[in-house]
Assembly symmetry: C2
Homo-oligomer: 169 residues x 2
Amino acid sequence: MNAELRSGCPINLSLEVFGDKWSLLILRDMIFGGKRHFRELLRSEERISSNILADRLKRLLEAGMLTRADDPTHRQKAIYSLTEMAICTVPIMAHLGAWGRKWLPVSEELSIRAQLLEEGGPAMWAKFMEELRAEHLGSGPPTASPSVRATLRAAFEDVMQRKYGKTTA
Amino acid sequence: MNAELRSGCPINLSLEVFGDKWSLLILRDMIFGGKRHFRELLRSEERISSNILADRLKRLLEAGMLTRADDPTHRQKAIYSLTEMAICTVPIMAHLGAWGRKWLPVSEELSIRAQLLEEGGPAMWAKFMEELRAEHLGSGPPTASPSVRATLRAAFEDVMQRKYGKTTA
DNA sequence: TGCAATCGGTTGCATAATGCAAGCAGATTG
DNA sequence: CAATCTGCTTGCATTATGCAACCGATTGCA
């Protein structure tokens, strides 16, 4: 993959793949936000700039975390998909979210999903991972009935509605 | 803490605390390696340089992940301690280690501990966290009989012995 | 047919972070 | 009393990041 491996420690190697401020956020948006296109990812909560996004997508492709395909419905759209390797970061995401929620000044609307995921525990994570496989790897049945992402999204919109009276776009 | 928070998302906020290539490695060495002093941390597997180490220790102190105290036995030694906040990263470390072990070219000797921690599961993590609290926060009984870190260390040395016939310094 | 919006990026440039090597003053050890 | 060890700092070169503007091709719509 690359030559400059600092050590064979599993934690270090993990950090060499996504140990920066943006890679995990991109994966987060793909996993939890269902984003698949460059322009969608560009509209992240944290306002990633396009050159950084392009660079990170390239790195994640090279690392085997993503694949890229042409969108059949739109000649110049690219579809990014999670690989199994990336889908397996769900438990890490869940723990990161839980830890952040416990120790840092999170906003209610952005942490409701982390809360549900924490409460759902490993069983919910596994179900979610199955859904992601169906969506990104084309394996198994199309989608389980009440999808985890839909549940998370609904909870998010409830909070938004209650707090701001907004209807999410 | 700092002003430039990019968003209130728990994952993003977590990354703002330790989303770089070094912070988590420092915590790893303190948690799993039992390191408490600057010069010990300098001898990391990945060869951190002293200015970066100094900077990261400062950041981790400011973030509330560490505390710093004078060593009573040596006037110019500083002792760094984990806070509860940092001890709570153990499950994240465990998952990161497990993920790295599954997907990346880890070395056997450096991943044996991740393997044990993975097999031990949440119960082992909890026990380990209790030991860390006793060691760093001075709470509870001195140390549980066969400490988790000792177990991990013994397994590491077994592998080293078997692979290289080395006795670890 | 035209025209604006959208597509996945690039490019140039300023600023910030990183990495290396050397050094430092005080404390401790032999 | 000299060598070693302590937690750092400094200077400097290289690399990464962030911003804004831009690109040609493609699309939807009138």
